[in-house]
């Protein structure tokens, strides 16, 4: 084991995942303590732009593993690639984004490398013996816990998006490539197709701003109001389970316990009561706005700003105000 910190620099289509850039901040803080280097591993096919973005974020070393068979994510092939990088670097700590890919991949890599694993981490540090310790929300955000790792084995953590800033002062990384050797049985998973959700709006899991609506929207057509506001804010549209179950929005937009967990910089909830299962998915947002006619709605307890008026008046006014603001600047 070396004192290095390895980052899985997740990319799709040569675009680095923003959460991968954010990993450089905690990785650097750990490396400053261990005296090791920050190494990024980029896996895919045609990944030069993604690797360049990692360089800008300020890692010491970049390992690229590029192969046509890695063009899209496969749990087995990406496992083989990341394990090869980890075996080369022998890091003390491996960090991945707590994204779909990071959360899917990390348990396999941890199992293969006999490592310890902590998921959805919001704080991380080394204890007196140099073992990793992390903090993470549990019970869908109703509590938070410290997780300690054994010092004598690799520690792996997936880190929640938007927890750390992405540095931009790098540019001097040494880059090397590592050949990809597929493992036996890696080809048992074949990706047949990837269908992108309606191009004009973002997905809640990767948006910095989310405008979410609940049962109060009453039907699918009314969600157009939220899409207009989302367009002005360059935001994604989310929904409560009640709104998804009623068919106003697809389940892919559901936020909450059985939907997606989101941590955007701004979450605007319109006509959502804030049931505990909804809060489970969004209470980690940086700034929360609550638009609800009911002053007792539980969402008000986690909101930074509440407007107690009819959303059908507030949302159009807000859309106009944001548009006016953009016209000024």
């Amino acid at each position: 084991m070396t004192d290095d910190i390895l980052i899985f620099a997740e990319q799709r289509d040569n675009r680095i995942h923003p959460a991968a850039l954010q990993l450089v901040t905690p990785a650097r803080a750990l490396a400053d303590k261990t005296g090791g280097q920050v190494v990024a591993c980029v896996v895919g096919d045609q990944i030069d732009t993604a690797a360049a973005a990692m360089n800008v974020a300020g890692v010491n070393r970049i390992i690229t593993i590029s192969n046509t068979s890695l063009a899209v994510y496969s749990a087995t092939r990406y496992r083989t690639a990341l394990v090869a990088a980890a075996e080369k670097v022998q890091p003390r700590v491996l960090l991945l984004p707590a994204s779909f890919m990071g959360r899917d991949l990390s348990p396999r890599v941890a199992a293969r490398l006999s490592a310890g694993l902590g998921t959805d981490v919001v704080e991380l540090d080394l204890d007196g013996d140099g073992a990793l310790e992390i903090h993470r929300p549990i019970y869908n955000g109703k509590a938070s816990a410290k997780l300690t790792f054994a010092r004598d084995r690799l520690a792996i953590a997936t880190v929640r998006a938007n927890t750390f800033p992405a540095p931009t002062d790098g540019g001097a990384a040494a880059t090397e490539s590592l050949a990809f050797t597929p493992g036996a049985g890696d080809d048992r998973i074949t990706v047949k197709g990837i269908e992108r959700a309606g191009g004009e709006v973002k997905d809640v899991a990767e948006a910095d701003i989310i405008v979410a609506g609940g049962r109060a929207l009453k039907n699918e057509q009314n969600f157009a109001l939220l899409y207009k506001l989302a367009k002005e804010l360059d935001a994604a549209v989310g929904a409560s389970r009640a709104a998804c179950d009623a068919g106003y929005q697809p389940h892919s937009r559901q936020v909450g316990l059985t939907g997606k967990t989101v941590t955007p910089k701004l979450y605007i909830a319109a006509g959502i009561s804030g049931a505990i299962q909804h809060l489970a998915g969004m209470r980690g947002s940086k700034v929360i706005v609550n638009i609800n006619t009911d002053p007792e709605a539980p969402l008000a307890q986690v909101a930074d700003y509440t407007i107690q008026h009819d959303l059908f008046k507030v949302i159009p006014a807000l859309t106009a105000e944001v548009r006016a603001l953009k016209a000024q600047s």
């Binding site: 509590a143 410290k146 269908e195 997905d203 509440t306 008026h309």
Partner: protein, 264 residues
């Protein structure tokens, strides 16, 4: 074809969490326990396969947990699983998710299962480690967070859809394999009263540390994280109710979002 469904009993999602003295666990007195919601999708998916086909020989539900976790197995049996495996031993009590996965993999590796259905994640620890880790320990492919599942007519492979950021992937996988089940796959039916009665007669096999060869050494070699210092969630600063008619309130909101919160 043989199907294994992994289930866990967890506190109901509406539980108010109180932290127990010592800070390493929650206070479990009076807490209502249910089958993990994502595991319900796994149970239902297995039972639907049997209803649609003639080649499903056996559906087994497995849990690792204390005596009370047998209730979760009974629910699975009432919905249509055939038998249960209950792995239970004080020696396993402090296991983390990877060690649990290792234990499950060791216990089922000679069971001849073609398909292992798992919940996407528990709603208590929210980890999502067990499914992919079981797949790795058994050297099987897996599909995570499946929202659609179709078994090929010949029973040798399946296609599944999984949601990722901004897209839905369709993947084809050869069996045997592991699938983790996401909301949208299917909703579990309520077990009927007669089926609840029948479930009481279905067999549940008890497995203890004595039945797992080399238990201690297997677990010394993976995971080993320890949870401590449970705390209530970090409190948010008290919010502001913005007064005034909608137009004024919106103007003030935008000003606050820009100047105070720096969010837009």
């Amino acid at each position: 074809m043989r199907i294994l469904v992994l289930i866990k009993q967890v506190p109901d999602s509406t539980t108010r969490i109180k932290i127990a003295a010592g800070g390493t666990d929650i206070d479990r007195t009076g807490v209502k326990l249910v089958v993990n919601p994502f595991d319900e999708f796994a149970i239902e998916q297995a039972v639907r396969l049997r209803e649609a086909r003639s080649d499903i020989e056996q559906i087994t539900a497995l849990t690792v947990g204390p005596a009370k976790a047998a209730e979760a197995l009974r629910t699975a049996l009432a919905v249509g699983c055939d038998d249960g495996i209950h792995i239970q031993d004080d020696a396993f009590a402090g296991f983390d998710e990877l060690q649990t996965a290792r234990l499950i993999a060791t216990a089922v590796k000679d069971g001849g299962y073609d398909l292992i259905l798992v919940g996407k994640q528990e709603i208590d620890l929210d980890s999502g480690h067990v499914g992919p880790a079981v797949a790795e320990f058994l050297d099987l492919p897996h599909v995570g967070t499946a929202v659609k599942f179709e078994l090929a007519a010949d029973g040798k492979s399946f296609t599944a859809n999984r949601r990722v950021e901004g897209a839905e992937e369709t993947v084809q996988v050869t069996l045997p394999a592991v699938v983790t089940c996401e909301k949208g796959l299917c909703e579990m039916r309520y077990p009927s009263l007669p089926n609840l009665m029948k479930a009481k007669k279905k067999p549940i096999k008890q497995v203890t540390a004595a039945d797992v060869p080399d238990a201690a050494s297997l677990f010394a070699s993976v995971g080993g994280t320890k949870m401590a210092d449970l705390q209530p969630p970090p409190s948010r600063p008290p919010g502001k109710v913005i007064p005034g008619e909608p137009e004024e309130a919106v103007k003030e909101l935008v000003r606050l979002l820009r100047e105070e919160a720096k969010a837009i």
